[in-house]
């Protein structure tokens, strides 16, 4: 790790100002990707802006037909929250599948989606549930937020404050882990809310999380694993590495989508 300046603002405005002043500064929201990268000297931000002392970024609440989770809510908070467990049980379950206990007690939902690791779990939940990402400047639909591997619609000095999830009628997440890292080799999130059906995939795509329109159309006719029988997606555009070829990942997307739908409908 190289030397850096550590700042701990107490308001969102201070944090945004600090980020504006130094374009190379990085917000710290758990740091379970950023800090190991810095320790390996693969990243060397001159300034870290720790968001953990800013009030009001950690709450979890149910408001009307949406579940709102503060950006600094830790994975363990989401996993253990009775509100989340009641409103969107799959989201609580997903949070419990991230990393290990150390990661879950430090890592945050805002940090995870701002990083948009192509194998992370939360981006699949955001896209699969049609979440809205709220920042200090605006509201961004998940469909517009994730713009590619490790890339988002966030502008400089824009800070996520909370994520708002509409409550689905049915939802499930199937994660097939990379054996070594335990990130998703492929993860498929399916959700049904009225006529809105979403199938979001993490881990597989070379450009990060994505939706599968063909699967969604098939499920609109009937929300059943049978609707996806024999359906595949092309291997083009899939990630390929020693853990899984593009072909294998594409195959797993089909398998996990069927399993997720089966889980969602309780079969």
């Amino acid at each position: 790790m190289y030397a850096f300046t550590f700042r701990r603002p107490e308001t969102l405005r201070q944090a945004a100002n600090l980020l504006s002043k130094n374009g190379d500064a990085k917000p710290l929201a758990g740091g379970h990707t950023l800090l190991p990268t810095m320790k390996l000297r693969l990243a060397s931000p001159p300034e870290l802006i720790d968001l953990s002392r800013i009030e009001g970024l950690e709450g979890i609440e149910l408001t009307g037909r949406a579940l709102t989770i503060g950006a600094m809510a830790r994975h363990a908070d989401v996993h253990g929250s009775p509100v989340v467990q009641q409103a969107i049980p799959v989201l609580a379950k997903l949070a419990g599948m991230i990393g290990d206990p150390a990661v879950r007690h430090m890592g945050t939902i805002g940090g995870s989606i701002a990083n948009n690791d192509p194998s992370a779990d939360y981006p699949a939940a955001c896209l699969g549930l049609g979440a809205t990402i709220v920042t200090n400047k605006r509201r961004i639909k998940a469909d517009d937020f994730f713009t590619g591997m490790f890339s988002t619609a966030l502008e400089p000095a824009e800070i996520i404050t909370k994520v708002s999830f509409p409550i689905p009628k049915k939802a499930a997440y199937q994660k097939f882990r990379n054996q070594a890292s335990r990130y998703a080799l492929v993860g498929v999130f399916v959700a049904k809310r009225g006529g809105d059906i979403r199938v979001a995939v993490t881990g597989a795509g070379a450009n990060g999380v994505f939706r599968i329109q063909s699967f969604e159309e098939a499920l609109k006719k009937r929300f059943s694993p049978k609707s996806l029988e024999g359906m595949t997606i092309p291997a083009d555009g899939m990630n390929s590495d020693i853990h899984g070829s593009a072909e294998y990942r594409a195959h797993l997307v089909g398998v996990l989508a069927r399993r997720a739908v089966a889980e969602a409908v309780g079969k």
């Binding site: 097939f176 054996q179 070594a180 890292s181 020693i242 853990h243």
Partner: protein
């Protein structure tokens, strides 16, 4: 048996300090004025070093020195060596290339140390290391052992044309050929024994110190055998004579073989300490461990087994290419030869065996002994051949094994080993019962109903442990003897210190060796301390590896205890005014036969030191005895492991559904520790079969260079293991011990792969059998859905 004697499941004495964070590992040790070393390592697998520009680095804050191979050579620091001479078929000696502690002129693998920066703090050393400018001319690399000998492939060392270190063989090629010609059935397999990264929990550490007053060096390091380290660094590297070099290996957090070897970093720490005039510490980062700790396995083998009409094995032949990496590590030459081919008879009566082994250099990190060392590779060859042979001939794999077991002992195999004792059928029988082999069909159908493929696999393995009779290994090329020493120091108050040349790095010697003393002297286990790992305390020893500490180290302790008892009897005779021959010693008490006169252990110990009851002219005061024990044979632990797997055909994911291990380790000193050793060994073996595999790309970059990509087995990868033992007492050592440290890692890979191939109905699967690999194998074989049998 007393409550803390041989056979008692005594809690490990050392665990309290380990689990409360009070262990003293090398990195916990700091010396006044200590500086830090950071190595500049080659980012290229094969490159000429055109120049090294260190001026800017040398001017960085805190920097005490930037050293390269040129300074090393100028100071006449010698090369690292491989200490086991192997001769090729044509009689020529192995081609050992120079291995300087800092690369000289050329880097031969990614991670090869090219320079070292010594600075006041680690951060300063690291900052300065980034300023060392090395001008490389990158050369093409070769990483695949199967390609290394081909023409047109990059040549790594001048001394070794075609990258070939030796072309060795064992056995009678003609007799084997003739047996194959008349065989009824021949099973053929191409096998890869995947390359593994040891990953001990504690990374390697070295602290070098030089005392200008006495001219003495001290090295604290993470070693499994500090005396051997001292011998090599003194006699070959030439750092200092042995009596001017002290090596201390304190608490060591796991080794699995990787800490046997003498590494460049410890040589550099000593040398640099003298150069900069301050103690120098180096602690490996996990990334360095991945690149530079000696890896294990990495064999490419074609093997064939010949059967007669009755299914009896008539011959076995194997041709193996063993990858030794860029340099020959300390014992690398012995692993794919005398620790491998000599075990190709397995538990079976095989009249003829022939094995050829070519060892090659590649542009990868060095490869040497890793838990099992050669014997897992042999077991994988034999147990895969037997299993596939049974399938091809339509025989039950358990029955085919039983038919071919060695049943009479001693048994001379065609590949050197003389099996002393065993009862292979007993462990097989017990394992079949525990595993409920008869119920397998039912479980397979049950799995099929759940959409899963179930398979069962056997591994009836054998290993040679208790290494080793010194003259025997000497005749095979070893540069050292493999006896062990022990010294027993009885204090005047009767407590006991044992100094052993073995070294514990997870094995629990502080408990098991104390159990032996408790058993023999009738004293509480807490009155016994086991001291190891310091060349200034222990006179000499060969260290711990190859499951040798029980069979060899404890045998030395038995000999020393015999001498202590004999001396103590003399003291007791004087105290009790009786003839020495009338003194009996039992349960910690010396008594005169046929009388009620007695003296307790503590009284005798005290009298040995105060020496009031005897004249110093007829009996020397004191009670301290030492012994060296040289074994007369290897020991032969053996057993039967049965693995059941359940495979999800849609994803290719394999789960270990059940594991049965029935092992014959001879006499068991502490059943709890032995069970732990089996658990750990099986986990490592399952790791090799399902998860672990070091992958280099064609340019020689280690793709699996961190735990993000290299998968170590985790607790939830394994079910509860069913572990049992059968016992045949080892006849060649006084306690009847065979050894248990490597059995699981030796047995497990074949059991897992036999189970997977049983489940998926194709033999074409390599280790590690990852979900992707299993899915691809199923797809290739045209099988995807389970069929209820």
């Amino acid at each position: 048996m007393c409550a803390t004697g041989i056979g008692a499941a005594v809690r490990r004495k050392e665990d309290h300090r380990f689990i409360t964070g009070k262990g003293h590992y090398t990195d916990d040790i700091n010396q006044p004025g200590q500086a830090y070393a950071y190595f500049v390592r080659s980012p290229h697998a094969h490159a000429t070093i055109k120049s090294i520009e260190a001026k800017e680095a040398a001017r960085m804050p805190g920097v005490l020195g930037v050293l390269t191979g040129a300074e090393l050579a100028a100071d006449k620091i010698g090369n690292l060596i491989c200490g086991w001479m192997i001769h090729s078929k044509d009689g020529s000696p192995m081609k050992m290339a120079p291995h300087p502690a800092l690369a000289s002129g050329k880097a031969c693998f990614v991670g090869d140390p090219v320079a070292v920066v010594i600075a006041a703090t680690l951060a300063q050393a690291r900052d300065a290391a980034e300023k060392v400018k090395v001008d490389y001319a990158v050369l093409p690399a070769v990483t695949d052992p199967a390609q290394a000998q081909k023409s047109g492939v990059p040549q790594i060392h001048e001394v070794a044309p075609n990258n070939t270190i030796y072309q060795w063989h064992l056995g009678d090629a003609k007799a084997v050929e003739s047996a194959f010609t008349s065989a009824k059935h021949v099973t053929k397999l191409d096998l890869v024994n995947n390359r593994l990264v040891p990953n001990a929990m504690e990374p390697r550490v070295a602290i070098g110190d030089y005392d200008t007053g006495s001219g003495t060096f001290t090295l604290w390091n993470t070693s499994q055998n500090p005396h051997v380290a001292r011998l090599v660094i003194a006699a070959f590297v030439g750092m200092a004579p042995e009596h001017k070099l002290r090596v201390i290996a304190p608490d060591v957090g796991g080794g699995f073989g990787s800490k046997i070897f003498i590494y460049p970093e410890e040589v550099v720490a000593l040398w640099a300490a003298k150069r900069v005039g301050r103690p120098v510490k180096w602690t490996a980062e996990r990334s360095e461990s991945f690149l530079c700790d000696a890896h294990g396995r990495d064999h490419v083998t074609h093997a064939e087994m010949a059967f007669d009409a009755e299914g009896r094995i008539v011959a076995l032949r194997a041709k193996t290419v063993a990858n030794l990496g860029a340099y020959m590590s300390t014992f690398s030459s012995a692993v794919p030869t005398y620790l491998y081919a000599t075990l190709l008879s397995g538990q079976y009566e095989i009249p003829q065996i022939y094995c050829e082994v070519d060892a090659v250099y590649t542009n990868t990190g060095p490869v040497d002994a890793y838990r099992g060392a050669g014997r897992p590779e042999a077991t994988f060859v034999v147990e895969r051949l037997v299993e596939v042979g049974a399938r091809e001939m339509g025989q039950d794999p358990a029955e085919l094994r039983r038919k071919n077991f060695v049943k009479e002992f001693p048994h001379q195999t065609p590949v050197i080993m003389n099996y002393d004792t065993g009862d292979y059928n007993a462990s097989l029988k017990r394992a079949l019962e525990i595993a409920d082999y008869k119920g397998f069909g039912r479980r397979k159908r049950e799995s099929a109903r759940n959409g899963k493929l179930r398979g069962v696999g056997f591994s009836t393995y054998i290993e040679a442990c208790g290494i080793a009779p010194s003259a025997a290994v000497g005749s095979l090329g070893a540069g050292v003897g493999l006896w062990e020493s022990a010294e027993v120091r009885v204090n005047p108050t009767g407590s006991v210190e044992v100094l052993t040349g073995c070294h514990a790095h997870g094995q629990g010697h502080e408990t098991t060796f104390a159990q032996l003393v408790s058993d023999r002297l009738g004293i509480p286990i807490d009155n016994v301390s086991i001291i190891h790992g310091d060349t200034d305390k222990v006179q000499f020893g060969m260290g711990t590896y190859g499951s040798r500490s029980g069979a060899v180290g404890m045998s030395a302790l038995v000999k020393a205890l015999d001498k202590v008892e004999a001396k103590a009897k003399k003291v007791a005779a004087h105290m009790l005014e009786a003839a020495e021959g009338d003194i009996e010693f039992k349960d910690g008490k010396f008594s005169v036969a046929g009388t009620d006169k007695s003296a307790a252990w503590g009284e005798v110990a005290l009298n040995a030191y105060i020496a009031h009851k005897f004249s110093g002219q007829e009996l020397e005061p004191g009670l301290k005895e030492g012994a060296f024990y040289d074994p007369t044979n290897f020991t032969f632990p053996a057993g039967c492991h049965i693995c059941e797997v359940e495979i999800d055909p849609e994803t290719g994911n394999t789960e270990i559904a059940a594991w049965t291990a029935v092992d014959d380790f001879g006499v068991v000193v502490n059943p709890m520790i032995v069970e732990g050793q089996v658990h750990g060994g099986v986990a490592q073996g399952v790791g090799q079969a399902l998860y672990e595999g070091a992958v280099y790309d064609k340019d020689g970059q280690l793709v699996t260079g961190s735990l993000l990509d290299y998968c170590m087995p985790r607790a939830d990868h394994l079910p509860a293991l069913n572990v049992a033992t059968t016992v045949t007492k080892c006849p060649s050592n006084p306690l009847g011990i065979k050894g248990c440290g490597e059995a699981g890692a030796i047995a497990a890979p074949a059991a897992v792969i036999n189970a997977i191939t049983d489940a998926i109905g194709t033999e074409a699967i390599a280790m590690p059998a990852t979900p992707q690999a299993v899915w691809a194998a199923l797809k290739k074989a045209g099988r995807s859905l389970p069929h209820a049998a």
